[in-house]
């Protein structure tokens, strides 16, 4: 785990779009306390922007009515919240035991050699970004790749190649 305390400021105020706004209010009714909305609100932000900025954290804290430090804590604790801009397609390759044994390294090597991204970085055109993540819970169908939240199971280099070709 690396230091995630450096937030990126966009310099522009953040707010939920109409759809996320409605979703926020719908979810808020589900929980006994408003503080429970910290994690869902961070997800909504990530869904909307692809990542979570400093302004977004402040917005969420004020919207929920909690301390900004609490949202900051949650956003830095969970590595699945992206604290910097990601590629249009964010590729997560599982690197935990089953996926590693079943060939995740070939996939990562292919992405490095043919697509030109290493874990933690993105392509120059901003189309793809890559991250190696811990267990995604699909060990039975390893190796597994997750692209923008969608799971692709039993992956190999050939399958990935044709999959990436469909992502423009």
């Amino acid at each position: 785990m690396s230091d995630r305390s450096q937030l990126i400021s966009t310099g522009e105020p953040f707010q939920f779009d109409k759809k996320r706004d409605a979703e926020f209010e719908r979810l808020a009714k589900r929980y006994p306390t408003r503080e429970s909305m910290i994690l869902p609100a961070l997800w909504l932000t990530q869904e909307q922007e692809g990542w979570v900025s400093q302004e977004a954290i402040a917005y969420i804290a004020d919207r929920i009515g909690t301390f900004a430090s609490k949202v900051y804590e949650a956003a830095t604790f969970y590595t699945m919240y992206n604290l910097h801009p990601m590629g249009k397609y964010h590729i997560c390759v599982c690197r935990t035991l089953s996926c590693w044994l079943r060939g995740k390294q070939e996939i990562v090597d292919y992405l490095r050699d043919e697509v030109g991204i290493t874990p933690g970085n993105q392509t120059e055109d901003g189309r793809f970004s890559l991250e190696e993540v811990e267990c995604l819970g699909h060990c039975g169908t390893a190796p597994v790749v997750q692209i923008n939240g969608e799971f692709y199971e039993n992956m190999d280099v050939e399958k990935l190649k044709s999959l990436l070709a469909t992502l423009k």
């Binding site: 909690t66 900004a68 900051y72």
Partner: protein, 520 residues
């Protein structure tokens, strides 16, 4: 008194108070259970694991003492091999990334990590990898400077700002060994109690920008005092030191536990009010604006008093009860009217519902206790008839503007005893520099009618007279501390069973005694 229960620590029977957790219960009878994250004001968090103890009743081999309530017949194990090992192991974990920069650390000498290393660890580091690098000097605002590398992530500061001040500026960011305490960017510590996190921090991670690098703590002499910053009367430890060839100087105020007054904390204004004791002090007596010997000034004062026909005496609401008694006796002798008018000390709306009070005077209740009038009308009536005003430390500049004061005192000469130079002294004919509250013993009564004793901390090279001594010089009948205290006991019957040295440390609640009738 709370119920007592009996339990066993290392096989020995001890009697402790019921209803407390193990740390507090056996701590009160002098048995230490080491702990870093637990603080009685913040509750048990259970994150540091330093307080793990064994309880021989079939529960898991180790339980955190902070989360375990003391119970009758409990068999607590503290010195067993496996407990010693766990303490050493926890210390080793805490020290993996700790910089051990004690020689330059402000906390050295009052650091729990240092103390516990000596008591529970004493092992050499087995680490061969470099410690995690973090920020060494972060300005958190509010006078707090943070060193992330020294931090052991006990979360006391975070909990204090969330539970007590409810401002929540700090959070624990990241996790694992890169976890650190931080503010959210652009939202620094911004409340009136923020510097308490420096006291709470068991290590040197939180330092006060005011005290940082000023003194090594083992050089500081300690004196028990009471804050005179407002009428709450929070209990203080005054840390002062007289360096060679220099004057005795106060380096910091620290809060001192008093459950019925301030608990464990004080406000930042009160904490930093020690500066007023060091700086801008009036040190020489004056005739007009000319500095003169005390004997000359006193002689002139006595002369003025003799020549005057009608004297008004004004008392400061910050004076101690002893001083009030002595001055009141002087007023009786001189047949003078006495007032404690000091409305200017009250800043309406400045107080909060925690410690800070509107009334910035430490002993207004003392004036009430002694039946000294504090009304503006009473004071102005007296002044209108008087040709001499003897002002014992009351800063009239707070209650009147410069012009209004000039008009008020047109036909009245002023003898002023003061601790600090200030504008209202400009019109005084005679000025006597007197000691401030860190330089004498005394008692004050706080806003909740609790009488508290405070001790002399500082002895200046040039020691000034006290107001009691001046009152005696002016012909006051009470000349010795014993006489003054005997007179004080008449006014405050609650004091009767006590001597100055035996007044309880937690103070005397005058509401509980018949003294309440006197103030009513």
């Amino acid at each position: 008194m709370a119920d007592k229960i009996k339990l066993f620590v290392n096989g020995e029977e001890v009697e402790v108070e019921a209803g407390k957790n193990l740390i507090d219960a056996v701590g009160a009878v002098g048995i230490e259970i080491p702990h870093l994250c637990y603080h009685p004001a913040l509750g048990a968090d259970g994150n540091c694991r330093m307080c793990l103890v064994g309880i021989e009743d079939g529960r898991p081999p180790l339980v955190p003492a902070c989360k375990t309530r003391a119970q009758e017949g409990m068999k607590v194990l503290l010195d067993a091999k496996h407990i010693k090992k766990i303490q050493r192991d926890v210390m080793e974990l805490e020290l993996i990334n700790h910089p051990i920069d004690c020689p330059v650390c402000d906390q050295a000498g009052e650091c729990k990590l240092q103390d516990y290393y000596m008591s529970y660890d004493q092992a050499e580091s087995r680490m061969t990898v470099a410690p995690v690098k973090k920020n060494k000097k972060m300005d958190f605002g509010g006078g707090v400077v943070h060193d992330q590398e020294r931090c052991i992530i006990c979360g006391r500061c975070v909990r204090f700002l969330r539970q007590i001040t409810k401002t929540g500026e700090l959070g624990i960011i990241n996790r694992t060994d890169v976890a650190r305490v931080n503010i959210f960017p652009g939202r620094p510590i911004n409340n009136r109690y923020g510097i308490n996190v420096v006291d709470l921090c068991p290590v040197g991670a939180m330092t006060s920008s005011d005290f940082r690098f000023k003194q090594r703590v083992w050089f500081l002499k300690k004196a028990l005092s009471v804050c005179h910053g407002c009428s709450k009367g929070c209990n203080l430890t005054i840390d002062h030191n007289k360096e060679k060839n220099k004057d005795d100087i106060i380096y910091r105020f620290r809060p001192r536990l008093n459950e019925q007054v301030n608990g464990y904390f004080i406000c930042d204004e009160g904490r930093l009010s020690y500066k007023l004791e060091n700086e801008d002090r009036l040190t020489t007596p004056k005739i007009g604006t000319v500095e003169r010997d005390l004997t000359d000034v006193l002689a002139s004062c006595k002369n003025e008093i003799e020549m005057s026909t009608n004297v008004t005496i004004l008392l400061s609401p910050n004076a101690s009860l002893e001083q009030m008694v002595a001055v009141k006796a002087l007023a009786g002798k001189l047949n003078a009217s006495i007032s404690g008018f000091s409305d200017g000390y009250i800043i309406t709306g400045d107080g909060d519902d925690y410690l800070i009070q509107d009334d910035k005077a430490a002993n207004r209740k003392g004036l009430e206790l002694l039946g000294i009038d504090t009304s503006q009308q009473g004071f102005e009536q007296a002044i209108a008839e008087a040709d001499l005003l003897i002002n014992f430390g009351n800063n009239l500049g707070l209650s009147y503007g410069a012009d209004a004061l000039k008009t008020l005192l047109t036909d009245t000469k002023t003898i002023a005893c003061a601790t600090h130079d200030s504008e209202y002294l400009a019109g005084a004919k005679l000025t006597i520099a007197v000691r401030s509250y860190s330089e004498y013993d005394g008692c004050v009564v706080n806003c909740d009618n609790i009488l508290q004793k405070f001790n002399k901390a500082v002895t200046k090279n040039n020691e000034l007279p006290t107001i009691c001594e001046i009152a005696a010089e002016f012909g006051g009948p009470l000349t010795s501390p014993a006489e003054i205290f005997a007179e004080l006991q008449q006014a405050a019957p609650a004091l009767k069973p006590y001597q100055p040295a035996t007044i309880p440390a937690e103070g005397l609640n005058l509401n509980d005694s018949e003294a309440a009738n006197v103030t009513a």
